[in-house]
């Protein structure tokens, strides 16, 4: 079968790399529209102000590397100081190659990289924490349960990112969450009736100033505390597949390998469901996200969220927490075998 015009970019006559018909795009136009969507999200949710210091949570995977790349390009139009923070959990065989990718990307883009480790925070790597708990190490049998791995990882990762960003004087912490992550998270929280988490979800973790922009509600998704570095998600409007495509086109040598502990069964089910829906009804993920954004602008529900999600200070480590004592401190005691 010869290639018809539908596989040429609808903006020019070059061969397309994605889409069909009106949505077909060549590499150049795909890149341009990708950058436009990132700028749009940054502007719409007032994510970055001129000359702010932005720390990118960099793992060396496709999302965070593309995020770093996009923000580095955005510096031409929106002056900002960029730095990258990489959390090394200590997962043998998985993390070292991604660190190499992260180093290469930072060098290419001229962004300083700061690496912090689970071991420095908890005294143990994730592998050894999980081995100790008897829940399988990195070399566990395929398909074996890994309950708890993502919970430990998420808690300590967030703690280390916030602490490091604060220590490095960052105004914002940029995360590589994409449209698929957002749609999955929203649906998961509905399926699990996790209303607190659902209420907190937003492209920015708080707003700097009350009423600054109509697109970002009055609410901070969290009440302000000086120790909490606001999180931003500039890729929130970009589908995961397009993030992967840009990573390939830019040639960063991303390894398409899953974390050996990634076994959050319900999220994988939701991911498959959403992908099937997107295939049958293109635009499904975007509509889910947009519906949530519209609901989030409702002042009444926002005020209710403010009241129930104020951040406190952990009584043990003084880090921001939604409870008297943060989950990380409780986990550290558990890891150390103390009650």
């Amino acid at each position: 079968m010869g290639q018809s015009a539908s596989f040429s970019c609808s903006r020019c006559s070059e061969p397309a790399c994605i889409g069909a018909g009106e949505t077909a795009r060549c590499e150049r136009h795909f890149r341009e529209e990708f950058a436009h969507e990132v700028r749009r999200a940054v502007r719409e949710f007032s994510m970055i102000k001129p000359r702010e210091r932005v720390a990118v949570a960099l793992s060396g995977g496709k999302d965070s590397v593309v995020l770093l790349h996009q923000l580095a390009e955005l510096r031409q139009k929106l002056p900002m100081e960029l730095l990258a923070i990489l959390v090394d959990e200590g997962i043998a065989g998985y993390r070292p190659p991604t660190i190499a990718v992260a180093r290469k990307a930072c060098k290419k883009l001229g962004v300083p990289l700061h690496i912090v480790t689970f071991k420095s925070e908890t005294g143990k790597s994730l592998d050894s924490i999980l081995r100790r708990r008897g829940k399988g190490g990195a070399r566990r049998a395929k398909g074996a349960p890994s309950t708890g791995a993502c919970t430990y990882c998420g808690v300590f990762r967030r703690l280390l990112l916030n602490k490091s960003a604060r220590r490095l004087g960052a105004d914002k912490l940029a995360l590589g969450h994409n449209l698929d992550d957002a749609a999955q998270t929203l649906l998961l929280n509905v399926y699990r009736n996790e209303t607190d988490r659902l209420a907190r979800f937003w492209p920015v973790s708080r707003e700097e100033k009350e009423g600054e922009t109509p697109a970002a509600p009055r609410s901070g998704r969290r009440a302000e505390t000086p120790d909490f570095i606001p999180r931003i998600r500039p890729l929130i409007r970009i589908p995961e597949r397009e993030v992967a495509l840009l990573a390939e086109l830019e040639g960063y040598g991303i390894r398409h390998q899953s974390c050996p502990y990634a076994n959050e069964a319900m999220r994988q089910t939701v991911r498959a469901q959403l992908n099937e829906m997107e295939d049958r009804y293109p635009g499904t993920k975007r509509r889910i996200f947009n519906a949530w954004m519209e609901m989030g602008k409702n002042e009444k529900s926002t005020a209710a969220r403010d009241a129930s999600h104020a951040l406190q200070t952990c009584k043990t480590c003084r880090e921001p927490s939604s409870q008297d004592e943060c989950v990380a401190c409780r986990m550290k005691r558990e890891i150390a075998g103390k009650k």
Partner: protein, 77 residues
């Protein structure tokens, strides 16, 4: 041995198909990238396909293709 519409050996005259770097042969004659992914039971949302060195859209025809590389998009990163 067949698994998910694939087997480990290819046939002469057909494109060299690689899934995550491993050589793979499909049962049937996919006319397009989308048909190939369907044979392999891979969602088009979860894969990028490089045909003769260039990433191509789902509807792209495979007639005359020499090398087809399927890159599965992993969650996270």
């Amino acid at each position: 041995m067949e698994r998910n519409g694939t087997r480990e050996t290819g046939r002469p005259g057909r494109p060299d198909i690689r899934l995550d770097g491993r050589k793979t042969a499909v049962v049937g004659r996919p006319g397009s990238v989308r048909e190939l992914l369907a044979l392999l039971k891979i969602s088009p949302q979860e894969a990028l396909v490089r045909v003769d060195g260039k990433i191509r859209p789902d509807g792209f025809g495979l007639a005359g293709a020499k090398k087809v590389e399927i890159i599965r998009v992993v969650f996270g990163g």
